[in-house]
Structure formats: C-alpha cells, structure tokens
Symmetry: C2
Subunit: 142 residues, 2 copies
DNA sequence: CTAACTGCAAAGTTTTTGCAATTGC
DNA sequence: GCAATTGCAAAAACTTTGCAGTTAG
C-alpha cells in the first residue's frame, strides 16, 4: 500500500541495492526473514531492521511488490459463499461485490461499485506438486 | 487455511456461538479485535484468546472465511508486472502463473499449473466513496 | 556539512499457547 | 467424570522505531 509520497531526497545505499538484487534474482516470493538471511551472506552486518525499512521504501517507490496484503491484521467474513471483495487502499475498509458479471472488465467492475478501482489481485489456492505426493493419503475434497 | 481435520469431539460453547453470531450479523469484515469488543458487550469476561481460538475453529470447520491471507508474514516479489500467483495451502509456497488464458476457467487453469487447484481469491483494490471525497486533492493515477 | 541511512536493541502489534479452573455431554 | 473449553497472562512471531553513529552528495 503506497504510503504518502516521500518528500525527502533518496540517497544510494549499498544495503538497498543488495535487497533489490536479491529480490530480483529469485522467483521464490520470499519473506523479509529469508531476504535478510541472503543479505547477511554478502553483508554480514546488515540488520533486519534495515531490510524491513528498505523493503518498505522499494515497495513505496514501486520497485517491488508486496504480495497479497498490506495489512497486518486478519479479517473475517461470516459469509462463506464465493464472493468478491473490494478493499479501499486508503482506509482499508472492505465491501462485498455482488452481482458480478461473469467476464469482468475494469469498466464493468467500475459500474457496479462506488469504489474507484485501481486494480485487482487474484490469488489461486491449491496444492503444489511436492505436497500432493507427500500427502497422497489425505483428502482435500477438490 | 484448513488445518488437519480435528480429531476431537466438538462441544457447544456459548462463546463460540456468540462469535459466530457477531460475524453473521455484520457486513463489515471485521478484525478479531473488533469481534472481541463486540463480544465483551454481551459477555464481559470473554477473553481475546478465546475469540482467536474460536475464529480458528470456525474457519477450520468452514463456518466463516478468513479474508485474503492465512499467513502472518508478508512476501515480496521483485517482479512488479501484473501477474498471477498460485499458493500452496499446505506448505505456503508461491509460484507464478504465466501465459494465463484470458477467460480462465478452473479447467484451463488446471492445465497450466502443477498445483491441484482448490479455488481462487480475487481482491479488488480501490478507493471507497468516503476516501474519494476526503482526498479529492490527491492523485491516485487511475 | 547535513540529511539520509545504518545497526542495534527496545517496543509495538497481532496471534498463539500453557495452565489451572470450568463446563458440556 | 472426562475431555473440550475458558480466562488469564506470558510468550511467540513479525514489523516498526528511537537513537547515536556513519555515509552519500
């Protein structure tokens, strides 16, 4: 979630470059902790706080993506039917989208909600190859 | 994220019923904290731990939905282009989906990934009515 | 120079857990 | 009764922040 545009002049930092390079050279969608561990191999004194700070800077300037969520808290929904949500990137409020036309377009979407739509995020849930074979005995009902 | 199917016999609990009722009677997609505060009005001695425990039980039995994420950690992606992710509900690993056919169906999706697809979650990002008017001066580039 | 940045450690937030007491079946 | 559940408080997990020292421009 882009914070307010930073007002200060950005300086080069070896640490920030390292974090970005690590992230650019993996397809593993890592956590901050993982990035920190990688970074320590090249720069043993880098701190976890610095990694977090730089991840936030890089995210705010659009150089990297924070996947899924920009909030720390979980939210719950008493309605378990499949339905879509729209979330405000400013205040974090969440509303339901009902009557979704099947092949949605941004334009169509715009017409069924009050929100100004900036984009969407689609996440698939499934079981990876590795887990499929290690749990062949379990039932995942799908 | 459904945990392993619980093996023990579930008992009725007033607290669990209350949590479920609170969740069923709002459209606000609340946080655990909010639910806890509501619950205290009816049951002053209920504890936050109990609310969390019951939210997890209810989610595991499929009575409620946890929105967006079942993980606490943020994950980062060096690729900022729009693309889809597929996440393993068991180990939590995340992979990219490329070459996504435009009108995707579960069947089509199944054919382009190794994952056993259980479902997907679509989240729209936007700016709600209230925030639009309170920030008419800002530019959200969309 | 000086403001951005860092490392470190402490604090903040959200969620989980251990334990003794309680309660549903 | 006995195991599931609870309240409480402590701990765990993740992220942010205050501060004094360092560094890029």
């Amino acid at each position: 979630m882009p914070q307010k545009p930073s007002t200060h002049i950005k300086k080069y930092s070896r640490q920030r470059e390292l974090v970005l390079n690590i992230l650019r050279s993996t397809k593993s969608h890592p956590t901050a902790e993982w990035i920190y561990n990688q970074a320590k191999e090249k720069m043993p004194h880098i701190s976890l706080g610095t990694v977090y700070r730089n991840l936030n800077v890089l995210r705010d300037e659009g150089s990297i993506q924070e996947i899924y969520i920009n909030e720390n808290v979980r939210r719950y929904d008493g309605d378990v039917r499949d339905h879509y949500h729209v979330r405000c990137v400013l205040c974090g409020c969440i509303e339901d989208i009902t009557n979704m036309p099947s092949p949605m377009t941004m334009g169509e979407l715009q017409s069924i909600t009050d929100f100004k739509i900036l984009g969407y995020r689609l996440e698939f849930l499934g079981i990876c190859k590795a887990c499929q074979s290690s749990t062949a005995d379990d039932d995942f009902g799908g």
